[in-house]
Protein backbone atom coordinates (compact mmCIF):
# COMPACT_ATOMS: atom_id res chain seq x y z
CA UNK A 1 0.00 0.00 0.00
CA UNK A 2 1.24 3.45 -0.88
CA UNK A 3 0.30 6.30 1.35
CA UNK A 4 -0.70 9.54 -0.24
CA UNK A 5 0.95 12.65 1.06
CA UNK A 6 -1.83 14.92 2.29
CA UNK A 7 -0.03 18.11 1.27
CA UNK A 8 3.37 19.13 -0.02
CA UNK A 9 4.07 21.16 3.06
CA UNK A 10 3.69 18.38 5.57
CA UNK A 11 5.47 15.95 3.26
CA UNK A 12 8.60 18.14 3.07
CA UNK A 13 8.41 18.44 6.81
CA UNK A 14 8.27 14.69 7.27
CA UNK A 15 11.01 14.33 4.68
CA UNK A 16 13.34 16.57 6.73
CA UNK A 17 12.48 14.63 9.85
CA UNK A 18 13.21 11.43 7.99
CA UNK A 19 16.64 12.59 6.90
CA UNK A 20 17.45 13.86 10.39
CA UNK A 21 16.44 10.60 11.99
CA UNK A 22 18.41 8.52 9.51
CA UNK A 23 21.47 10.71 9.99
CA UNK A 24 21.14 10.41 13.75
CA UNK A 25 20.84 6.65 13.58
CA UNK A 26 23.85 6.39 11.28
CA UNK A 27 25.97 8.65 13.48
CA UNK A 28 24.99 6.63 16.49
CA UNK A 29 25.85 3.37 14.74
CA UNK A 30 29.18 4.74 13.52
CA UNK A 31 30.18 5.94 16.95
CA UNK A 32 29.04 3.01 19.06
CA UNK A 33 29.46 0.11 16.67
CA UNK A 34 31.72 0.82 13.71
CA UNK A 35 34.38 2.81 15.58
CA UNK A 36 34.99 0.13 18.23
CA UNK A 37 35.02 -2.57 15.57
CA UNK A 38 37.64 -0.71 13.55
CA UNK A 39 39.59 -0.04 16.74
CA UNK A 40 39.66 -3.74 17.60
CA UNK A 41 41.05 -4.75 14.22
CA UNK A 42 43.54 -1.88 13.98
CA UNK A 43 44.87 -2.52 17.50
CA UNK A 44 45.21 -6.20 16.71
CA UNK A 45 47.22 -5.50 13.55
CA UNK A 46 49.09 -2.47 14.92
CA UNK A 47 52.47 -4.18 14.88
CA UNK A 48 51.84 -6.12 11.72
CA UNK A 49 50.60 -9.56 10.89
CA UNK A 50 53.33 -11.60 12.60
CA UNK A 51 52.59 -10.58 16.22
CA UNK A 52 48.89 -11.05 15.46
CA UNK A 53 49.44 -14.59 14.24
CA UNK A 54 51.75 -15.29 17.17
CA UNK A 55 49.09 -14.16 19.64
CA UNK A 56 46.40 -16.23 18.00
CA UNK A 57 48.50 -19.40 17.75
CA UNK A 58 49.95 -19.20 21.24
CA UNK A 59 49.08 -22.45 23.11
CA UNK A 60 46.93 -20.65 25.71
CA UNK A 61 45.05 -18.84 22.97
CA UNK A 62 44.54 -22.09 21.06
CA UNK A 63 43.28 -23.78 24.19
CA UNK A 64 40.85 -20.92 24.79
CA UNK A 65 39.60 -21.14 21.21
CA UNK A 66 39.21 -24.90 21.49
CA UNK A 67 37.29 -24.60 24.77
CA UNK A 68 35.01 -21.92 23.34
CA UNK A 69 34.22 -24.14 20.37
CA UNK A 70 33.53 -27.12 22.62
CA UNK A 71 31.24 -25.05 24.85
CA UNK A 72 29.30 -23.81 21.83
CA UNK A 73 29.16 -27.28 20.29
CA UNK A 74 27.53 -28.63 23.44
CA UNK A 75 25.31 -25.77 24.61
CA UNK A 76 23.90 -24.71 21.23
CA UNK A 77 22.42 -28.10 20.27
CA UNK A 78 21.12 -28.53 23.82
CA UNK A 79 19.37 -25.19 23.68
CA UNK A 80 18.08 -25.88 20.22
CA UNK A 81 16.30 -28.94 21.59
CA UNK A 82 15.18 -27.23 24.81
CA UNK A 83 14.02 -24.17 22.94
CA UNK A 84 12.06 -26.25 20.44
CA UNK A 85 10.46 -28.31 23.17
CA UNK A 86 9.49 -25.26 25.21
CA UNK A 87 8.08 -23.38 22.21
CA UNK A 88 6.17 -26.43 21.08
CA UNK A 89 4.66 -26.96 24.52
CA UNK A 90 3.75 -23.32 24.94
CA UNK A 91 2.21 -22.77 21.52
CA UNK A 92 0.52 -26.08 20.75
CA UNK A 93 -0.89 -27.07 24.13
CA UNK A 94 -2.67 -25.36 26.95
CA UNK A 95 -1.69 -26.50 30.42
CA UNK A 96 -1.60 -25.04 33.90
CA UNK A 97 1.59 -23.11 34.59
CA UNK A 98 2.03 -22.03 30.98
CA UNK A 99 2.47 -18.36 31.88
CA UNK A 100 4.99 -19.27 34.57
CA UNK A 101 6.99 -21.19 31.98
CA UNK A 102 6.90 -18.17 29.66
CA UNK A 103 8.26 -15.99 32.44
CA UNK A 104 10.95 -18.51 33.34
CA UNK A 105 12.19 -18.60 29.78
CA UNK A 106 12.99 -14.91 30.08
CA UNK A 107 14.76 -15.28 33.41
CA UNK A 108 18.30 -15.50 31.98
CA UNK A 109 17.65 -12.22 30.17
CA UNK A 110 16.40 -10.44 33.25
CA UNK A 111 19.07 -11.58 35.69
CA UNK A 112 22.60 -10.20 35.57
CA UNK A 113 24.93 -12.89 34.16
CA UNK A 114 27.22 -12.49 37.17
CA UNK A 115 24.32 -13.39 39.45
CA UNK A 116 23.53 -16.39 37.24
CA UNK A 117 27.13 -17.53 37.64
CA UNK A 118 26.98 -17.08 41.39
CA UNK A 119 23.83 -19.21 41.58
CA UNK A 120 25.78 -22.10 40.05
CA UNK A 121 28.62 -21.56 42.50
CA UNK A 122 26.10 -21.62 45.34
CA UNK A 123 24.66 -24.84 44.03
CA UNK A 124 27.72 -26.77 42.91
CA UNK A 125 30.71 -25.01 44.54
CA UNK A 126 32.87 -26.63 47.25
CA UNK A 127 30.86 -24.75 49.90
CA UNK A 128 27.66 -25.06 47.89
CA UNK A 129 24.48 -27.05 48.38
CA UNK A 130 25.61 -30.06 46.37
CA UNK A 131 29.35 -29.47 46.92
CA UNK A 132 30.02 -32.17 49.54
CA UNK A 133 28.11 -34.79 47.56
CA UNK A 134 29.97 -33.86 44.35
CA UNK A 135 33.42 -33.97 45.92
CA UNK A 136 32.57 -37.27 47.64
CA UNK A 137 31.94 -38.69 44.16
CA UNK A 138 35.00 -37.04 42.68
CA UNK A 139 32.98 -34.73 40.45
CA UNK A 140 34.14 -31.21 39.77
CA UNK A 141 31.74 -28.73 38.25
CA UNK A 142 32.74 -25.27 39.43
CA UNK A 143 36.16 -24.09 38.17
CA UNK A 144 35.89 -26.79 35.53
CA UNK A 145 34.43 -27.26 32.07
CA UNK A 146 31.02 -28.68 33.21
CA UNK A 147 30.37 -25.47 35.18
CA UNK A 148 31.14 -23.33 32.16
CA UNK A 149 28.77 -25.41 30.05
CA UNK A 150 26.01 -25.18 32.65
CA UNK A 151 26.38 -21.41 32.91
CA UNK A 152 26.41 -21.02 29.12
CA UNK A 153 23.37 -23.22 28.62
CA UNK A 154 21.52 -21.17 31.22
CA UNK A 155 22.50 -17.81 29.75
CA UNK A 156 21.69 -18.75 26.15
CA UNK A 157 18.47 -20.64 26.81
CA UNK A 158 16.04 -17.87 25.74
CA UNK A 159 17.41 -17.23 22.25
CA UNK A 160 15.81 -20.13 20.38
CA UNK A 161 12.55 -20.10 22.36
CA UNK A 162 12.14 -16.32 22.06
CA UNK A 163 12.54 -16.60 18.31
CA UNK A 164 10.16 -19.54 17.90
CA UNK A 165 7.29 -18.74 20.26
CA UNK A 166 5.89 -15.72 18.38
CA UNK A 167 6.39 -17.51 15.06
CA UNK A 168 4.64 -20.71 16.15
CA UNK A 169 1.94 -18.70 17.87
CA UNK A 170 1.20 -16.89 14.62
CA UNK A 171 1.17 -20.11 12.61
CA UNK A 172 -1.34 -21.75 14.94
CA UNK A 173 -1.88 -25.49 14.97
CA UNK A 174 -4.05 -26.00 11.90
CA UNK A 175 -1.16 -27.42 9.87
CA UNK A 176 -0.32 -29.94 12.56
CA UNK A 177 -3.95 -30.93 12.96
CA UNK A 178 -4.30 -31.33 9.22
CA UNK A 179 -1.27 -33.65 9.18
CA UNK A 180 -2.60 -35.68 12.11
CA UNK A 181 -6.02 -35.99 10.49
CA UNK A 182 -4.31 -37.38 7.39
CA UNK A 183 -2.84 -40.14 9.52
CA UNK A 184 0.65 -38.78 10.17
CA UNK A 185 2.28 -39.75 13.47
CA UNK A 186 3.44 -37.12 15.93
CA UNK A 187 7.01 -37.50 14.76
CA UNK A 188 6.08 -37.32 11.06
CA UNK A 189 4.03 -34.22 11.79
CA UNK A 190 6.96 -32.59 13.53
CA UNK A 191 9.47 -33.57 10.87
CA UNK A 192 7.42 -32.91 7.72
CA UNK A 193 5.20 -30.03 8.83
CA UNK A 194 6.33 -28.16 11.94
CA UNK A 195 10.06 -28.11 11.30
CA UNK A 196 9.83 -26.84 7.70
CA UNK A 197 7.42 -24.15 8.88
CA UNK A 198 9.85 -22.84 11.46
CA UNK A 199 13.21 -23.63 9.89
CA UNK A 200 14.31 -20.07 9.21
CA UNK A 201 13.26 -18.84 12.61
CA UNK A 202 14.99 -21.78 14.22
CA UNK A 203 18.21 -21.15 12.31
CA UNK A 204 18.10 -17.52 13.28
CA UNK A 205 17.62 -18.39 16.95
CA UNK A 206 20.47 -20.89 16.82
CA UNK A 207 22.73 -18.28 15.27
CA UNK A 208 22.06 -15.76 18.02
CA UNK A 209 22.39 -18.49 20.63
CA UNK A 210 25.78 -19.46 19.20
CA UNK A 211 27.05 -15.89 19.13
CA UNK A 212 26.18 -15.48 22.77
CA UNK A 213 27.51 -18.90 23.77
CA UNK A 214 30.92 -17.98 22.34
CA UNK A 215 30.89 -14.45 23.65
CA UNK A 216 29.47 -14.85 27.17
CA UNK A 217 31.73 -13.31 29.79
CA UNK A 218 29.99 -12.57 33.11
CA UNK A 219 28.50 -15.90 34.13
CA UNK A 220 31.40 -17.89 32.69
CA UNK A 221 33.91 -15.67 34.47
CA UNK A 222 32.36 -16.50 37.83
CA UNK A 223 32.34 -20.29 37.39
CA UNK A 224 35.51 -20.75 35.33
CA UNK A 225 38.32 -20.08 37.82
CA UNK A 226 40.46 -18.66 34.98
CA UNK A 227 42.86 -21.59 34.80
CA UNK A 228 45.08 -20.92 31.80
CA UNK A 229 45.07 -23.60 29.19
CA UNK A 230 42.19 -25.33 30.97
CA UNK A 231 39.14 -23.26 31.85
CA UNK A 232 39.74 -20.07 29.92
CA UNK A 233 37.34 -19.30 27.13
CA UNK A 234 38.12 -16.69 24.49
CA UNK A 235 36.45 -13.75 26.26
CA UNK A 236 38.22 -14.66 29.53
CA UNK A 237 41.53 -15.02 27.71
CA UNK A 238 41.09 -11.57 26.22
CA UNK A 239 40.59 -10.10 29.66
CA UNK A 240 43.67 -11.77 31.09
CA UNK A 241 45.88 -10.61 28.25
CA UNK A 242 44.49 -7.13 28.55
CA UNK A 243 45.14 -7.00 32.29
CA UNK A 244 48.71 -8.06 31.56
CA UNK A 245 49.13 -5.12 29.17
CA UNK A 246 49.50 -7.50 26.22
CA UNK A 247 47.35 -5.30 24.01
CA UNK A 248 48.24 -6.87 20.70
CA UNK A 249 47.45 -10.32 22.09
CA UNK A 250 44.21 -9.17 23.68
CA UNK A 251 43.00 -7.43 20.55
CA UNK A 252 44.11 -10.26 18.30
CA UNK A 253 41.89 -12.76 20.14
CA UNK A 254 39.18 -10.11 20.46
CA UNK A 255 39.26 -9.61 16.70
CA UNK A 256 38.39 -13.28 16.26
CA UNK A 257 35.30 -12.74 18.41
CA UNK A 258 34.51 -9.59 16.49
CA UNK A 259 34.81 -11.54 13.23
CA UNK A 260 32.33 -14.04 14.62
CA UNK A 261 29.96 -11.18 15.34
CA UNK A 262 30.31 -9.93 11.77
CA UNK A 263 29.68 -13.36 10.31
CA UNK A 264 26.61 -13.71 12.54
CA UNK A 265 25.36 -10.35 11.39
CA UNK A 266 25.72 -11.23 7.73
CA UNK A 267 24.06 -14.62 8.15
CA UNK A 268 21.27 -13.00 10.15
CA UNK A 269 20.64 -10.49 7.38
CA UNK A 270 20.57 -13.23 4.78
CA UNK A 271 18.17 -15.24 6.91
CA UNK A 272 15.89 -12.29 7.51
CA UNK A 273 15.74 -11.71 3.82
CA UNK A 274 14.83 -15.34 3.15
CA UNK A 275 12.39 -15.26 6.01
CA UNK A 276 10.60 -12.24 4.59
CA UNK A 277 10.41 -13.74 1.15
CA UNK A 278 9.04 -16.86 2.70
CA UNK A 279 6.32 -15.29 4.79
CA UNK A 280 5.56 -12.89 1.97
CA UNK A 281 4.77 -15.76 -0.35
CA UNK A 282 2.28 -17.07 2.14
CA UNK A 283 -0.19 -14.26 1.86
Amino acid sequence: MKRQSPSTESSTESRTAQILLIALALAFLAFFLMLPLIAVFSEALKQGLAPFLDAVSNPDALSAIRLTLIIAAISVPLNMVFGLAASWAITKFSFPGKNLLLTLIDLPFSVSPVVSGLIFVLLFGAQGLLGPWLSAHGLKIIFAVPGIILATVFITFPFVARELIPLMMEQGKDDEEAALSLGASGWQTFWHVTLPNIRWGLLYGVLLCNARAMGEFGAVSVVSGHIRGETNTMPLHVEILYNEYDFVGAFAVASLLAALALVTLVLKTVLEWRFDLHSGARH
Binding site: D175, E177, A178, A179, S181, G183, S185
Partner: protein, 321 residues
Protein backbone atom coordinates in the same frame (compact mmCIF):
# COMPACT_ATOMS: atom_id res chain seq x y z
CA UNK B 1 -23.86 -44.30 10.10
CA UNK B 2 -22.51 -41.63 12.42
CA UNK B 3 -24.12 -41.27 15.83
CA UNK B 4 -23.37 -38.53 18.30
CA UNK B 5 -24.87 -39.18 21.70
CA UNK B 6 -25.37 -36.73 24.54
CA UNK B 7 -22.15 -34.81 23.91
CA UNK B 8 -21.17 -32.19 26.47
CA UNK B 9 -18.06 -30.05 26.28
CA UNK B 10 -16.80 -27.31 28.58
CA UNK B 11 -13.83 -24.98 28.09
CA UNK B 12 -12.90 -24.19 31.66
CA UNK B 13 -16.25 -23.18 33.12
CA UNK B 14 -17.68 -22.19 29.77
CA UNK B 15 -20.16 -24.76 28.45
CA UNK B 16 -19.58 -24.90 24.70
CA UNK B 17 -21.91 -27.86 24.03
CA UNK B 18 -24.62 -29.48 26.11
CA UNK B 19 -26.39 -32.75 25.43
CA UNK B 20 -25.90 -32.91 21.68
CA UNK B 21 -27.62 -35.85 19.93
CA UNK B 22 -27.30 -36.35 16.21
CA UNK B 23 -27.55 -39.19 13.69
CA UNK B 24 -26.19 -39.05 10.17
CA UNK B 25 -26.99 -41.59 7.47
CA UNK B 26 -24.46 -42.72 4.87
CA UNK B 27 -24.44 -40.40 1.85
CA UNK B 28 -26.02 -37.48 3.68
CA UNK B 29 -24.85 -33.91 3.32
CA UNK B 30 -25.40 -32.21 6.67
CA UNK B 31 -25.05 -28.53 7.54
CA UNK B 32 -24.29 -27.35 11.07
CA UNK B 33 -25.83 -23.89 11.03
CA UNK B 34 -25.70 -21.31 13.79
CA UNK B 35 -24.34 -17.93 14.80
CA UNK B 36 -20.71 -17.44 15.72
CA UNK B 37 -19.90 -19.02 19.08
CA UNK B 38 -22.82 -21.47 19.00
CA UNK B 39 -20.47 -24.47 19.18
CA UNK B 40 -20.47 -25.66 15.55
CA UNK B 41 -16.70 -25.93 15.21
CA UNK B 42 -16.39 -27.61 18.59
CA UNK B 43 -18.95 -30.26 17.60
CA UNK B 44 -17.24 -30.83 14.24
CA UNK B 45 -13.84 -31.18 15.94
CA UNK B 46 -15.23 -33.66 18.45
CA UNK B 47 -16.67 -35.76 15.62
CA UNK B 48 -13.26 -35.60 13.93
CA UNK B 49 -11.31 -36.51 17.06
CA UNK B 50 -9.41 -33.22 17.14
CA UNK B 51 -11.12 -32.35 20.41
CA UNK B 52 -12.53 -34.64 23.08
CA UNK B 53 -15.91 -34.38 24.78
CA UNK B 54 -16.36 -34.26 28.53
CA UNK B 55 -19.42 -36.49 28.37
CA UNK B 56 -21.19 -38.55 25.74
CA UNK B 57 -20.14 -40.84 22.90
CA UNK B 58 -19.38 -40.75 19.20
CA UNK B 59 -20.13 -43.88 17.15
CA UNK B 60 -18.95 -44.61 13.61
CA UNK B 61 -20.94 -47.51 12.14
CA UNK B 62 -21.76 -48.76 15.60
CA UNK B 63 -18.18 -48.59 16.93
CA UNK B 64 -17.54 -46.31 19.87
CA UNK B 65 -14.72 -44.05 18.64
CA UNK B 66 -14.94 -41.64 21.59
CA UNK B 67 -11.34 -42.19 22.67
CA UNK B 68 -9.82 -42.73 19.22
CA UNK B 69 -7.60 -39.90 17.98
CA UNK B 70 -8.18 -38.15 14.68
CA UNK B 71 -5.54 -40.07 12.71
CA UNK B 72 -7.30 -43.38 13.30
CA UNK B 73 -10.86 -42.25 12.55
CA UNK B 74 -10.35 -42.03 8.78
CA UNK B 75 -12.01 -38.64 8.48
CA UNK B 76 -11.14 -35.91 6.01
CA UNK B 77 -11.01 -32.49 7.63
CA UNK B 78 -11.02 -29.26 5.65
CA UNK B 79 -10.01 -26.16 7.57
CA UNK B 80 -11.42 -22.70 7.02
CA UNK B 81 -7.93 -21.28 6.42
CA UNK B 82 -6.96 -24.25 4.18
CA UNK B 83 -3.98 -25.28 6.38
CA UNK B 84 -2.01 -26.34 3.31
CA UNK B 85 1.64 -27.25 3.86
CA UNK B 86 3.28 -24.20 2.30
CA UNK B 87 6.69 -25.72 1.70
CA UNK B 88 5.24 -28.63 -0.30
CA UNK B 89 3.97 -28.59 -3.86
CA UNK B 90 0.28 -28.99 -4.48
CA UNK B 91 0.86 -32.59 -5.58
CA UNK B 92 2.86 -33.37 -2.44
CA UNK B 93 0.16 -31.80 -0.30
CA UNK B 94 -2.45 -34.03 -1.87
CA UNK B 95 -0.26 -37.11 -1.57
CA UNK B 96 0.67 -36.42 2.07
CA UNK B 97 -1.89 -38.74 3.64
CA UNK B 98 -0.63 -41.61 1.48
CA UNK B 99 3.12 -40.94 1.81
CA UNK B 100 3.02 -40.92 5.62
CA UNK B 101 1.46 -44.37 5.75
CA UNK B 102 3.45 -47.22 7.20
CA UNK B 103 5.34 -49.11 4.50
CA UNK B 104 2.94 -52.01 4.81
CA UNK B 105 -0.08 -49.92 3.81
CA UNK B 106 1.66 -47.37 1.60
CA UNK B 107 0.94 -47.56 -2.13
CA UNK B 108 3.92 -47.59 -4.51
CA UNK B 109 5.40 -44.22 -5.49
CA UNK B 110 3.98 -44.35 -8.99
CA UNK B 111 0.57 -45.23 -7.63
CA UNK B 112 0.63 -42.31 -5.19
CA UNK B 113 1.59 -39.99 -8.02
CA UNK B 114 -1.23 -41.29 -10.20
CA UNK B 115 -3.69 -40.88 -7.35
CA UNK B 116 -2.60 -37.25 -6.80
CA UNK B 117 -3.00 -36.58 -10.52
CA UNK B 118 -6.45 -38.10 -10.49
CA UNK B 119 -7.51 -35.98 -7.52
CA UNK B 120 -6.13 -32.87 -9.19
CA UNK B 121 -8.46 -33.66 -12.06
CA UNK B 122 -11.38 -34.22 -9.68
CA UNK B 123 -10.90 -30.78 -8.15
CA UNK B 124 -10.25 -29.29 -11.60
CA UNK B 125 -6.68 -28.23 -11.00
CA UNK B 126 -4.92 -30.32 -13.65
CA UNK B 127 -1.43 -29.13 -14.41
CA UNK B 128 -1.04 -27.17 -11.17
CA UNK B 129 0.54 -30.04 -9.23
CA UNK B 130 4.01 -28.52 -9.23
CA UNK B 131 2.89 -25.13 -7.92
CA UNK B 132 3.18 -24.11 -4.30
CA UNK B 133 0.08 -23.16 -2.28
CA UNK B 134 1.32 -19.56 -2.14
CA UNK B 135 0.92 -19.36 -5.91
CA UNK B 136 -2.78 -20.25 -5.92
CA UNK B 137 -5.96 -18.24 -5.41
CA UNK B 138 -8.16 -18.78 -2.36
CA UNK B 139 -10.66 -20.92 -4.22
CA UNK B 140 -7.89 -23.06 -5.71
CA UNK B 141 -6.28 -23.52 -2.31
CA UNK B 142 -9.53 -24.68 -0.81
CA UNK B 143 -9.89 -27.22 -3.59
CA UNK B 144 -6.37 -28.49 -2.93
CA UNK B 145 -7.30 -28.84 0.74
CA UNK B 146 -10.34 -30.82 -0.30
CA UNK B 147 -8.32 -33.07 -2.62
CA UNK B 148 -5.82 -33.69 0.17
CA UNK B 149 -8.63 -34.73 2.50
CA UNK B 150 -10.18 -36.98 -0.16
CA UNK B 151 -6.87 -38.72 -0.88
CA UNK B 152 -7.20 -40.90 2.20
CA UNK B 153 -10.68 -42.01 1.05
CA UNK B 154 -12.31 -40.82 4.25
CA UNK B 155 -15.45 -42.44 5.58
CA UNK B 156 -16.61 -39.00 6.61
CA UNK B 157 -15.75 -35.58 5.23
CA UNK B 158 -15.82 -32.65 7.65
CA UNK B 159 -15.61 -29.05 6.48
CA UNK B 160 -15.35 -26.06 8.79
CA UNK B 161 -16.75 -22.97 7.05
CA UNK B 162 -15.14 -24.16 3.82
CA UNK B 163 -16.18 -21.06 1.89
CA UNK B 164 -15.76 -18.58 4.71
CA UNK B 165 -12.59 -16.96 3.43
CA UNK B 166 -13.69 -16.64 -0.21
CA UNK B 167 -15.41 -13.82 -2.01
CA UNK B 168 -19.09 -14.06 -2.92
CA UNK B 169 -18.80 -15.18 -6.55
CA UNK B 170 -16.16 -17.86 -5.98
CA UNK B 171 -18.14 -18.98 -2.97
CA UNK B 172 -21.26 -19.58 -4.97
CA UNK B 173 -19.50 -21.48 -7.75
CA UNK B 174 -17.54 -23.57 -5.31
CA UNK B 175 -20.51 -24.64 -3.23
CA UNK B 176 -22.49 -25.86 -6.23
CA UNK B 177 -19.45 -27.76 -7.32
CA UNK B 178 -19.00 -29.27 -3.85
CA UNK B 179 -22.63 -30.37 -3.82
CA UNK B 180 -22.09 -32.24 -7.12
CA UNK B 181 -18.82 -33.73 -5.95
CA UNK B 182 -20.45 -35.00 -2.76
CA UNK B 183 -23.10 -36.79 -4.84
CA UNK B 184 -20.72 -38.14 -7.46
CA UNK B 185 -18.28 -39.60 -4.97
CA UNK B 186 -20.98 -40.88 -2.64
CA UNK B 187 -19.46 -39.07 0.35
CA UNK B 188 -20.93 -38.57 3.78
CA UNK B 189 -20.24 -34.98 4.70
CA UNK B 190 -20.82 -32.46 7.47
CA UNK B 191 -20.09 -28.81 6.91
CA UNK B 192 -20.20 -25.88 9.27
CA UNK B 193 -21.62 -22.53 8.21
CA UNK B 194 -23.15 -19.43 9.73
CA UNK B 195 -24.75 -18.56 6.40
CA UNK B 196 -28.35 -19.80 6.28
CA UNK B 197 -28.54 -19.42 2.51
CA UNK B 198 -25.56 -21.72 2.11
CA UNK B 199 -27.05 -24.30 4.47
CA UNK B 200 -30.45 -24.26 2.78
CA UNK B 201 -28.95 -24.50 -0.70
CA UNK B 202 -26.51 -27.33 -0.05
CA UNK B 203 -27.64 -29.58 2.74
CA UNK B 204 -29.90 -32.61 2.78
CA UNK B 205 -30.55 -31.81 6.42
CA UNK B 206 -29.77 -28.72 8.46
CA UNK B 207 -28.81 -28.81 12.13
CA UNK B 208 -29.56 -25.41 13.65
CA UNK B 209 -27.45 -24.66 16.71
CA UNK B 210 -27.62 -21.91 19.29
CA UNK B 211 -25.68 -21.52 22.54
CA UNK B 212 -24.24 -25.03 22.42
CA UNK B 213 -27.59 -26.73 21.85
CA UNK B 214 -29.40 -28.09 18.82
CA UNK B 215 -32.63 -26.17 18.25
CA UNK B 216 -33.82 -28.12 15.26
CA UNK B 217 -32.77 -30.83 12.84
CA UNK B 218 -34.64 -30.99 9.58
CA UNK B 219 -34.65 -30.67 5.82
CA UNK B 220 -34.12 -27.12 4.52
CA UNK B 221 -37.85 -27.05 3.78
CA UNK B 222 -38.79 -28.07 7.33
CA UNK B 223 -36.38 -25.68 8.98
CA UNK B 224 -37.61 -22.81 6.89
CA UNK B 225 -41.32 -23.54 6.81
CA UNK B 226 -41.76 -25.09 10.25
CA UNK B 227 -39.13 -23.56 12.53
CA UNK B 228 -39.17 -25.30 15.88
CA UNK B 229 -38.16 -22.28 17.93
CA UNK B 230 -38.30 -18.52 17.70
CA UNK B 231 -34.53 -18.57 17.31
CA UNK B 232 -34.70 -20.82 14.25
CA UNK B 233 -37.46 -18.72 12.79
CA UNK B 234 -35.28 -15.61 13.07
CA UNK B 235 -31.98 -17.16 12.13
CA UNK B 236 -33.23 -19.09 9.10
CA UNK B 237 -34.90 -16.59 6.85
CA UNK B 238 -36.32 -13.30 8.07
CA UNK B 239 -39.11 -12.98 10.57
CA UNK B 240 -41.13 -10.13 12.07
CA UNK B 241 -41.87 -10.55 15.73
CA UNK B 242 -45.10 -8.76 16.59
CA UNK B 243 -45.91 -7.49 20.10
CA UNK B 244 -48.71 -10.06 20.43
CA UNK B 245 -46.13 -12.89 20.10
CA UNK B 246 -46.81 -13.83 16.48
CA UNK B 247 -43.79 -14.50 14.21
CA UNK B 248 -44.48 -13.66 10.57
CA UNK B 249 -42.20 -13.90 7.53
CA UNK B 250 -42.10 -10.75 5.31
CA UNK B 251 -43.63 -12.66 2.38
CA UNK B 252 -46.45 -13.98 4.58
CA UNK B 253 -47.84 -10.45 4.95
CA UNK B 254 -50.23 -8.98 2.46
CA UNK B 255 -51.29 -5.40 2.07
CA UNK B 256 -55.07 -5.43 1.89
CA UNK B 257 -57.93 -3.11 2.72
CA UNK B 258 -59.38 -5.80 4.99
CA UNK B 259 -56.20 -6.05 7.05
CA UNK B 260 -56.21 -5.73 10.81
CA UNK B 261 -52.92 -3.92 11.50
CA UNK B 262 -52.15 -0.37 10.37
CA UNK B 263 -48.64 0.37 9.13
CA UNK B 264 -46.92 3.66 8.25
CA UNK B 265 -44.59 3.08 5.29
CA UNK B 266 -41.04 4.36 5.94
CA UNK B 267 -39.18 2.94 3.00
CA UNK B 268 -39.74 0.93 -0.18
CA UNK B 269 -37.01 -0.69 -2.23
CA UNK B 270 -36.26 -3.60 -4.53
CA UNK B 271 -35.06 -6.73 -2.88
CA UNK B 272 -34.35 -9.68 -5.12
CA UNK B 273 -37.48 -10.44 -7.11
CA UNK B 274 -39.92 -8.41 -5.01
CA UNK B 275 -40.55 -5.11 -3.28
CA UNK B 276 -39.44 -4.75 0.30
CA UNK B 277 -41.61 -2.40 2.36
CA UNK B 278 -40.32 -1.18 5.70
CA UNK B 279 -42.79 0.39 8.09
CA UNK B 280 -44.03 0.78 11.66
CA UNK B 281 -47.18 -0.49 13.30
CA UNK B 282 -49.15 2.66 14.15
CA UNK B 283 -50.18 1.35 17.56
CA UNK B 284 -46.87 0.12 18.98
CA UNK B 285 -44.22 1.62 16.68
CA UNK B 286 -42.90 -1.92 16.08
CA UNK B 287 -40.82 -2.09 12.91
CA UNK B 288 -42.16 -4.53 10.31
CA UNK B 289 -40.82 -5.75 6.97
CA UNK B 290 -43.26 -6.74 4.26
CA UNK B 291 -42.61 -8.27 0.83
CA UNK B 292 -44.83 -7.22 -2.06
CA UNK B 293 -44.91 -9.11 -5.35
CA UNK B 294 -42.74 -7.55 -8.04
CA UNK B 295 -45.60 -7.05 -10.47
CA UNK B 296 -47.88 -5.40 -7.92
CA UNK B 297 -47.72 -1.68 -7.23
CA UNK B 298 -45.95 -1.03 -3.91
CA UNK B 299 -47.30 1.55 -1.45
CA UNK B 300 -45.67 4.98 -1.40
CA UNK B 301 -43.46 6.25 1.38
CA UNK B 302 -45.44 8.05 4.11
CA UNK B 303 -48.67 6.28 3.23
CA UNK B 304 -50.60 4.33 5.87
CA UNK B 305 -51.72 0.86 4.79
CA UNK B 306 -53.42 -2.05 6.50
CA UNK B 307 -51.85 -5.49 6.46
CA UNK B 308 -52.92 -9.04 7.19
CA UNK B 309 -50.88 -12.16 7.83
CA UNK B 310 -51.54 -15.15 5.60
CA UNK B 311 -49.53 -17.30 7.92
CA UNK B 312 -48.13 -16.76 11.40
CA UNK B 313 -46.53 -18.85 14.12
CA UNK B 314 -46.25 -18.63 17.84
CA UNK B 315 -43.71 -20.39 20.01
CA UNK B 316 -44.02 -21.55 23.57
CA UNK B 317 -41.84 -19.43 25.83
CA UNK B 318 -39.66 -22.49 26.53
CA UNK B 319 -38.59 -22.50 22.91
CA UNK B 320 -38.52 -18.73 22.82
CA UNK B 321 -34.99 -18.27 24.04
Amino acid sequence: MIRVQNITKRFGNYPALHGIDLEIQPGEFIALLGPSGSGKTTLLRIIAGLEFQDEGQVYFNGDDVSDIPVGKRNVGFVFQQYALFRHMTVADNIAFGLTVRKARRRPAKAEIKARAEELLRVVQLEGLGQRYPGQLSGGQRQRVALARALAIEPGLLLLDEPFGALDAKVRKDLRRWLRDLHKQMGLTSIFVTHDQEEALELADRVVVMDHGRIDQIGTPEQVYMEPATAFVSHFVGETNRLPDGRHIRPHDFEITATGSDRVIVDNVFRKGGSWRVEGRLTETDTIVEIDVDAHEAPPTIGETVTIAARRARTFSSAGDR
